[in-house]
């Protein structure tokens, strides 16, 4: 009986002693912090993705509390919703941003872009691009080793086994920009989601002359300027044999999509075209 008593007693005393020590240490080393930081952090999505440009959600919350305006602070993951709440809480104005989504600008799948050599090394786009131009004749295109997939924290980007190209899941993509940084060929771009998620973009980054580009890949942009001519809104620019559509100017008229001879311009989330009798150049091909 005594043993049990002593055990309980000694352990209790030890516990109380340690608790006291912990209490005093906690008091001594207490760091004063703005309590609002915790509250702001609670509003944030907590993905710690770094898409805002800060080390993590905590650092972002800290900078929000310290900043005088929220103009420079934007959480791409939470988007306008979350930023509105943060702004409301801090009593500040927020800069609204158009929601964006990652777009893969390469369509060089196995059929369009034949392989010219076989790669035998560590499966990483960064390693591959560090020492040669890639296993196809197109030195700008997707290498297909999925550095973007590894970079994505939201499971929003996946390799399509059929095409060997990455595919973005729009519902999951938060436009944090991690994949944009991970891609050594700079193929992925953040573009405005657009009205009803409808987008038009040039799905190619090949800057070679038309002939070379076409030889390397059947769906390459050859810089023929047809799209530029047909665009009524000045949204298309062509620099070094490559067309680029400015998403701020594009009115989604889809004329360029029809015009492009190599089908390098893509339309996304548009209703299926009803083939008209007069104009159906796309459907035939």
């Amino acid at each position: 009986m005594n043993t049990v008593l002593f055990t309980i007693l000694s352990l209790s005393i030890l516990g109380i002693l340690l608790a006291l020590i912990l209490y005093f240490v906690a008091q001594k080393f207490k760091v004063e912090e703005d309590p609002r930081i915790d509250d702001v952090q609670a509003i944030l999505p907590g993905a710690n993705c770094g898409g805002c440009g800060f080390a993590g959600c905590r650092a972002f919350a800290e900078s929000c509390v310290k900043a005088e305006t929220l103009e420079k602070n934007f959480c791409p993951v939470g988007g306008n919703e979350v930023m509105k709440q943060v702004a409301q809480y801090l009593g500040m104005e927020m800069a609204e941003k158009t929601p964006q989504v990652a777009v893969v600008r390469c369509n060089g799948n196995c059929d369009n872009r034949p392989k010219t050599n076989n790669y035998d090394g560590f499966s990483s786009c960064a390693v591959m691009s560090s020492f040669y131009s890639g296993d196809t004749a197109c030195k700008y295109g997707c290498l297909g080793h999925g550095d973007c997939v590894l970079a994505c924290q939201f499971d929003a980007i996946k390799m399509d086994p059929r095409t060997g190209l990455p595919e973005v899941d729009e519902s999951k993509c938060t436009a944090c920009g991690a994949c944009v940084k991970a891609c050594p060929k700079m193929i992925i771009e953040l573009r405005n989601k657009g009205i009803k998620n409808r987008r038009i973009f040039v799905s190619c980054v090949n800057k070679d002359k038309g002939g070379i580009a076409k030889k390397a890949c059947a769906v390459a942009c050859i810089g023929c300027t047809k799209c530029q001519k047909v665009c009524a809104y000045d949204a298309i620019t062509i620099t070094s044999n490559l067309a680029y559509i400015d998403y701020n100017k594009c009115k989604l008229c889809r004329k360029c999509v029809v015009e492009c001879p190599t089908h390098a311009i893509w339309e996304v989330n548009f209703p299926v075209r009803v083939p008209k009798k007069e104009t159906s150049p796309l459907v035939e091909q």
Binding site: T116, N117, N118, D120, G121, F122, S124, A126, V127, S130, F131, Y132, S133, G134, D135, K139
Partner: protein
């Protein structure tokens, strides 16, 4: 007891199967594709245009920037165009394309076979001549030689080391010139000694080349007693600058330092021959000795090859691409580059073409690290490749720097010795570049 470097190293089979093939001249090509980026540093700027007539040895591109080198035509004929073409890795580089007509050399080149022993030029003139002739290091990195022979202010060279180790398996180009042109090489070494103002020079040769040691020693004993021939143990990477300095002089290049920090300048035997030809014969660097070898080939060859010959032409000349070969390597099997584009052309520093079969070169599937420490044992820089690989995969830059990833010489010993086929060097090379970028971006103290 032969000398060698102190840490790590591996012993791959040397496979010098082409060592008995004498150097022969490669037949003239129909079209030469001369790259403007044949050296480390800024590409040269072409000074010829479409339609210009050029002769062999004529200057066609001028060095641009501090680290750069002149480029001379290797053929005579008409310039077809100046355009961007893929190099062996498929990346676009400016090329001068020349349609060959005859073989007319410029008059200033001394084409006789006489050995010119007297060094008439002074120190400054030698360096100027070497720069004019576009001589670059032929050991692999193709660093412009005239810059290497001009130590930066505050640094003094006291010894010249000549790398005749040819530690890469298969390659025999340095071996052949040591057999066929030993005196020219030694005169070239003398010229470089004069340019540097040093009184000592050592030529390090690995023991697996006894004939080369004998040939060089024979000449050195007769009138070149200031140049010592040092036999070295066969061990890779003996020919690495830092390893060679350690092996021959026992000095060690500090981390992030240059060989000149130890007072040593390292040059290749091939470079010594090029320096001799430039200074004594007034012949610019537009050709080089190239070993064409591989176990899958019936014939092993050593060629004197003009710059600008495409790999396709070379394969055609040796009787086509062997059936079982899957990989063509420009350089040796340890540090050479795999050719991705057969239309690319040879450059000044091309020292060998190696054909490997799938069995010889294919990497096995990557397996778990079993922590066998073979990579640690093999690393000649005393690093821990297994650890660097782990850190590199999670981008831990500070820890990579603490573990000296920036000291990696990319010799490939770790990947060679790894029993689990872990792509150690692939990830380390990438993270080394990132760490160096961070380090250079820091404000200097």
């Amino acid at each position: 007891m032969s000398k060698t470097f102190s840490i790590g190293g591996i012993h791959p089979h040397d496979n010098k199967i082409s060592k008995d093939a004498a150097i022969e001249n490669f037949p003239l090509v129909e079209t030469a594709y001369i790259s403007m980026s044949q050296h480390l540093g800024a590409p040269a700027e072409p000074i010829v245009a479409k339609g210009d007539k050029v002769k062999v040895g004529q200057l066609i591109a001028k060095a641009s920037g501090f680290i750069s080198a002149n480029i001379h035509s290797s053929v005579s004929g008409t310039v077809r165009s100046v355009e961007m073409l893929p190099d062996l890795a498929g990346n676009p580089v400016q090329h001068v394309i020349i349609d060959v007509e005859g073989d007319e050399w410029i008059d200033t080149i001394d084409r006789s076979n006489d050995i010119v022993k007297d060094i008439k030029l002074g120190k400054e003139e030698i360096i100027k001549r070497i720069a004019e002739c576009g001589v670059v290091g032929l050991g692999g990195a193709a660093f412009p030689t005239h810059i290497k022979l001009t130590p930066p202010p505050g640094k003094v060279a006291d010894v010249l080391l000549i790398n005749g180790s040819e530690c890469e398996p298969y390659l025999t180009s340095d071996y052949r010139i040591m057999l066929e042109n030993p005196e020219e090489i030694l005169i070239g070494v003398r010229i470089m000694m004069k340019a540097l103002g040093v009184s000592k020079a050592y030529v390090g040769i690995e023991e697996n080349k006894p004939k080369a040691i004998k040939s060089m020693k024979g000449v050195a004993d007769k009138g070149y007693t200031d140049i010592k021939i040092v036999p070295l143990k066969k061990r890779y990477p003996q020919g690495g600058e830092k390893q060679l300095i350690d092996a021959v002089t026992g000095r060690r290049v500090p981390s992030m330092g240059l060989p000149i920090d130890t007072g040593a300048v390292v040059q290749n035997v091939g470079t010594a021959l090029a320096v001799y030809e430039a200074v004594q014969k007034n012949k610019p660097l537009f050709d080089g000795i190239v070993t064409v070898t591989g176990k899958c080939m019936t014939e092993q060859r050593n060629f004197r090859l003009r710059v600008g010959t495409t790999f396709d032409t070379m394969m055609f000349a040796i009787g086509g691409f062997p059936k079982d070969a899957v990989k063509l390597i420009s350089g040796g099997p340890m540090m050479g580059k795999a050719v991705a584009c057969m239309d690319a052309a040879s450059v000044k520093s091309t020292s060998g073409l190696l054909l490997l079969t799938e069995e010889e070169t294919k990497r096995g599937p990557e397996r778990n690290c079993i922590r066998c420490a073979k990579c640690v044992e093999a690393c000649p820089m005393g690093l821990q490749p297994y650890l660097l690989n782990r850190l590199a995969r999670v981008n831990r830059m500070e820890e990579l720097e603490e573990n000296m990833v920036q000291d990696c010489i990319e010799c490939g010993c770790c990947l060679y010795s790894c029993p689990a086929n872990i792509p150690l060097l692939d990830t380390i090379r990438l993270s080394k570049a990132k760490v160096l970028k961070i380090m250079r971006g820091r404000p200097k103290k």
